[in-house]
């Protein structure tokens, strides 16, 4: 089914004809930050791809703060000062509202559709609230597609050791174990992908599902991995962006992420059981260290919720966990010895058993995954306590060890899956 576009956008596409590169920016009320993102993308396209025709597409979800106007007004005041090459053709700007279910996925769908219409060779998508984006991101996200014929570029950010714990404890190790490729930030949010892959995304029947609302990031990564596309990573440095909703429901976030990954396990149930081991993918960019903002954590509160879960959620966990695993969790919650540690082996079992229970629908999905939250907090508290005095490399080794444990226990998941 074709994606509806406004007549003005249709006319603009007709006028532009074809381009080589496209940068998509989904947005909703990002007037404060989107100008910087557009300027960085424009400068990056001009500097690193001066001989390519390019367009920037802002796919907006009905912002009321003047986001589209901010995109239209964003210009590089003095290109010479940032060593921008003289581009052969100007970077076209397209500002369009998206149609369909409100969400980042629908915004991306419009970007994919425009990419297909403009017959682009390579696309990149970047968040509209980024503060750390620089022109070089364009080279890092688009370069491997144009120069080395990769199909998907996954971002690799430098993050504080306590940052991204859902990624580190669930999404990264699970995706690596399932699909056998080392993609460190499967839900990074800023990606590069070929025109071929954009057309493949567009053809998938997911645009009326939760992918349109949330979960587009992991869906894009997984679809590329499961579809056998050529995947690589690019080191983008630190990712700093506006925190829009500090009071958001964290358990809800966990549900969204976990349900997206588990749903994809069902979609690709013919693919992942045949994958064994995990291999590296090529890494572009120049990894370097930067000062990262410290992330304060409240271990006491996490442990309190974990222990309360073990005390009160028995009837729910009994449906999700195997008796042996549940007994181990209860034992751990009851033990008063310090330091508290939820070992890798147990955590992997918890995740695999929840995935299998979600697949078997032993409970309504949202209830089941919300009950994972205390366990996740227990695991996070354990990780924080274990890495209190660890440096970045040591922490990365610990995360890698967990990922290896996921791979080792994959036969257990297969047995549970049935």
């Amino acid at each position: 089914m074709s994606v509806p576009l406004q007549p003005a956008v249709e006319a603009r596409l007709h006028e532009i004809g074809e381009v080589d590169l496209l940068v998509g920016i989904p947005s909703f009320n990002s007037a404060r930050t989107i100008g910087h993102v557009v300027r960085a993308a424009t400068a990056g396209l001009a500097k690193y791809f001066p001989d390519r025709r390019a367009a920037i597409v802002n796919s907006d979800g009905g912002s009321s703060d003047g986001t589209p106007e901010a995109v239209a007004a964003a210009e590089i005041a003095n290109p010479g000062t940032i060593l921008v090459s003289h581009a052969l053709s100007p970077v076209h700007k397209i500002v369009t509202p998206y149609h369909g279910i409100p969400g980042k996925g629908s915004a991306f769908r419009t970007i994919f559709a425009i990419a297909e219409r403009l017959k682009v060779r390579a696309c990149a998508v970047v968040d509209s609230d980024l503060r750390s984006i620089t022109p070089v991101w364009m080279e890092l996200l688009l370069g491997p597609l144009i120069q080395q014929d990769f199909d998907f570029v996954s971002p690799l950010y430098l993050r504080h050791k306590y940052d991204g714990t859902i990624t580190n404890s669930i999404v990264y190790p699970l995706t690596r174990a399932l699909y056998g490729r080392e993609v460190r930030q499967p839900i990074g949010g800023d990606f590069g992908f070929s025109g071929r892959l954009a057309a493949h995304y567009l053809a998938q029947p997911v645009w009326e599902s939760n992918v349109a609302r949330f979960g587009i990031d992991v869906w894009m990564t997984t679809t590329a991995l499961a579809g056998g596309f050529r995947v690589c990573q690019s080191f983008l440095g630190a990712k700093i962006h506006d925190a829009k909703d500090p009071g958001a429901d964290l358990a809800g976030m966990l549900v969204q992420v976990a349900s997206s990954v588990f749903d994809l396990m069902n979609t690709y149930r013919e693919v992942w059981p045949r994958v064994a081991g995990a291999e590296e993918v090529p890494l572009f960019g120049f990894p370097h260290g930067v000062g990262l903002e410290p992330v304060p954590v409240n271990v006491e509160r996490m442990l309190a919720i974990f222990r309360q879960g073990a005390r009160d959620l028995g009837e729910v966990w009994e449906k999700a966990l195997e008796p042996e695993t549940l007994a181990a969790v209860r034992h751990l919650a009851g033990a008063s010895t310090l330091p508290f540690e939820l070992p890798d082996r147990l955590w992997v079992r918890v995740v695999y058993e929840f995935a299998a229970s979600y697949h078997r629908r032993v409970l309504p999905g949202e209830q089941l995954l919300r009950s994972l939250y205390p366990l996740y907090l227990g695991r996070t508290a354990s990780f924080v306590l274990r890495t209190e005095s660890s440096g970045a490399d040591e922490v990365e080794a610990i995360i890698r060890a967990l990922a290896d444990e996921f791979v080792r226990q994959k036969p257990y998941l297969l047995a549970l899956w049935g």
Partner: protein
């Protein structure tokens, strides 16, 4: 004299034979209907015992929480067996009513007629109870999980309260539908529910005002606590 008595006895016997001749077919029909009913009930029971597990009914029942309800009620057999038994008894019940109707007696006709008139109410009431039980179980679990995730100390008590309130509400609705003590029930429910809410308000407002303040302050503080930005977790 003997002839007179003989005539009376003859008349009585002839009358009985006539009535038996008239009533006999009805009796035979009743027996036949009952026999068919028993066979049908057995067939339905056996059929459902075989079919329901294959259709995944037990898994479905487990997911809905019916298995737990049955276990709590001391029923140790599979939900599919319970459903098969219930349907087969219902089938037998229908045949018994039809059999009584076949007798063509006034009281039997009245009984059948009244039963069939009352049956929809009974079914709706049963439906309300089942729906209520499912809704109460679902909400109890949701409240329990949400309360644990929010770190509320009395999560189980809160969940049990929601469960009980919903069950009482649905039981009251079912009884009201059956017309059992309609006014008494309505008044009792209103007084009970209003009383509970009033008592809770008083308890929370007077005796527990410090606790209420502390809870609200803790909730407000938690929003500002570090490490809660979801992006840090993603």
């Amino acid at each position: 004299m003997w002839q007179f008595l003989n005539e009376i006895v003859q008349k009585t016997l002839t009358g009985f034979a006539d009535r038996l001749a008239a009533f006999g077919p009805n009796l035979l029909a009743m027996v036949l209907i009952l026999a068919v009913g028993v066979l049908a009930a057995v067939a339905v029971r056996v059929g459902l015992r075989l079919l329901l597990p294959r259709l995944g009914f037990d898994r479905f029942a487990q997911r809905l929480g019916l298995s737990v309800i049955l276990q709590k009620g001391g029923i140790a057999v599979a939900p599919s067996a319970v459903a098969a038994a219930a349907v087969s008894w219902a089938v037998l019940g229908v045949f018994v009513l039809l059999a009584i109707g076949a007798l063509n007696l006034q009281f039997a006709m009245d009984l059948v007629s009244r039963t069939f008139t009352y049956l929809p109410q009974l079914l709706i009431a049963a439906g309300l109870l089942i729906l209520g039980s499912l809704a109460a179980g679902f909400l109890r679990r949701s409240v329990l999980i949400a309360a644990v995730n929010a770190g509320l100390p009395s999560a189980r008590l809160l969940a049990a309260g929601v469960h009980t309130a919903l069950m009482v509400l649905f039981a009251a609705m079912a009884l009201e539908h059956l017309g059992v003590g309609r006014h008494v029930l309505l008044a009792s429910f209103t007084i009970l529910f209003g009383g509970v809410v009033f008592a809770l308000s008083l308890a929370f407002g007077l005796a527990g005002k410090d606790l209420a303040r502390e809870l609200l302050e803790r909730l407000a503080r938690r929003r500002d606590e570090p490490g809660e930005d979801e992006r840090r977790h993603l």
